[in-house]
């Protein structure tokens, strides 16, 4: 895989270079209503090339669906785009996931670039080529694996973030330390939320390194799913039940990491000391979610439908120790029940 993730604080040189060499027939920017308001001007004043059109979608995971795709495909057609056009996705995970999917399927594939505007998308969603939309209750059921031509991380966009969104992204940084880089975990543990640009770059490079080894998730890439097996089920359930409070992705993953930390202690040899440390560091920034006892079987059922689980089994990524993950671990339903008891009784 080519290097395609660039950090820039001042300009957009890597993107300018791509546009100069690409001879694109049209250049379109995709935003949601939030990034239209808060990020589009900042982006446009840094780009010397002509933008032929702006497509704006509604913000939020509930709009990451086929209806929004239809609108984006129609807008691309209306702007006269062809397979030699370029789509620039300027936004968080919803914009880069949905924009990547519409681009990868428009006229059987046009180029796209991700310019992440949230911490979560800078260290995770914008990198690695997973595109997709939600379908019914389950997340990212429909999608492709298609690499962006470029991921351009402009740190100026971190200034636009609300604290809750920032903390949500911080959860994925913690995960990167837990699965692959003990030193990164130690840094985050010490600095807490006072992280700087170098920490963000370090965290995104954990993901870049893993994806380069295994773009199609045949093996090592699965490690990135630590905290996500239970985390996704929780997130899907909250998304579907409108009486539940809003839960951001990182908030669901934070709960998932504690739950799967417990499973790691039970199944894959994570020490009690490390489990307590994970619990303490995560709990410092993420409130406990009030699960009801009768919701647990629903989460288990949702996990059976997760696209990472094949042949009806539920596979977990668990930790051997902090910085060292192991894939394809089998866990019983009883152990999952116990993990929820641990989570609630802490």
């Amino acid at each position: 895989m080519q290097k395609n993730v660039y950090f820039e604080t001042l300009g957009t040189a890597s993107l300018n270079q791509l546009v100069q060499n690409g001879n694109y027939s049209k250049i379109i920017v995709l935003v949601d209503e939030n990034t239209h308001e808060k990020c589009l001007d900042k982006f446009m004043e840094r780009t010397p090339f002509t933008i032929d059109g702006i497509i704006t979608i509604k913000p939020g995971e509930e709009h990451k669906n086929i209806t929004t795709c239809n609108m984006v495909w129609q807008s691309l057609a209306d702007f006269g785009c062809d397979r030699k056009s370029l789509l620039i996705n300027l936004g968080g995970g919803v914009v880069t996931d949905l924009g990547g999917f519409t681009a990868s399927t428009f006229k059987r594939g046009m180029d796209f670039v991700n310019v992440p505007t949230t911490l979560l998308s800078m260290v995770d969603a914008a990198i690695g080529g997973k595109t997709g939309i939600d379908f019914g209750v389950l997340k990212n059921q429909i999608g492709t694996i298609t690499q962006p031509k470029l991921v351009l991380i402009l740190q100026t966009f971190l200034e636009t973030l609300e604290k809750r969104q920032f903390v949500s992204g911080y959860a994925e940084m913690l995960k990167h330390g837990l699965i692959a880089k003990h030193a990164h975990w130690e840094t985050l543990k010490q600095k807490q939320l006072e992280i700087d640009a170098d920490d963000i770059e370090a965290s995104s490079q954990v993901k870049v390194g893993i994806v380069e080894q295994d773009p199609y998730e045949m093996g090592v890439r699965k490690k990135l799913n630590f905290g996500h097996t239970l985390g996704h089920a929780i997130e899907s359930y909250y998304l579907e039940h409108l009486t539940k409070p809003t839960l951001l992705h990182g908030e669901a993953i934070a709960a998932g990491m504690i739950l799967e930390g417990y499973l790691s202690h039970k199944v894959s040899g994570l020490s009690k000391v490390s489990l307590d440390e994970i619990n303490k560091v995560v709990s410092a920034h993420f409130d406990k979610i009030d699960f009801e006892k009768d919701e647990i079987p629903i989460f288990i059922d949702l996990m059976k439908h997760d696209k990472k689980n094949t042949h009806g089994n539920i596979n977990f990524v668990l930790l051997r120790e902090i910085g060292n993950a192991v894939i394809d671990c089998k866990v019983s339903e009883k152990e999952i029940q116990e993990a929820f008891s641990y989570y609630m009784d802490r």
Copy 2:
């Protein structure tokens, strides 16, 4: 690219082998109402493995759309499919195009196999990995390029075809001769519709050979679009205007080959003798379409939206001589007008 097209008259050995080695969690067959009735039993009695579900869609190009995809994705989810499941597309071009697209995007990609049941899909649509659906008036606007694990050509299905469908497929065989294999053209010219299994295999191998060289259509694969630039525009227009008589794909391509044969004579050096020969051979099996003079600008406008045309230009594949095509030819609107005059006045 791996060899993945198999001709079998008696059994389904290649598919059985794939299933045996694939350890698929579920095996689902996609059919339309016609192939459900005419082909499914013939297929099932040849396959020794368990089929976990059948998905049936409505037949015809007008159902090759996102609404039908939604239904297929939902059915795949309802059958409990995951990314280790297999979809077998049993049908003509609509089933293999739409089935390939839904499979290539379900949980970011599950395996699929094409078992073409029409002559058109045996020599063309089922081969080469182009998947897609129509979007609005334009054909195959949304799709991916994803190779099937296997294309299994079972000649028994030719017995189920109506003559008009058979002749439609014959148009693509003629095209393969015209663009790349003079001897194939000569055979078809002599045998007319009395072709046999060897001729079908020869024709499909023309496509296999071209796709292997250039799966992503950067160059030589464009040759397969001979007759399709105008042919697609005509087909799209007829599909959209319900007062027009039904036009099959091969019928539109037959008109496209005469029109682009004329352009070849004008632009890329095809001799008058060869043009007359193409006209004579094609006309023997395809009725003249009654174009209205004021429809020609509409076709030109539709071609500007064709996904093969970039930067607002219309690119044609033209012939230098029979068996030898040249890509990326520029043609003026006046020459296109003249081609229609030639077509109508023959």
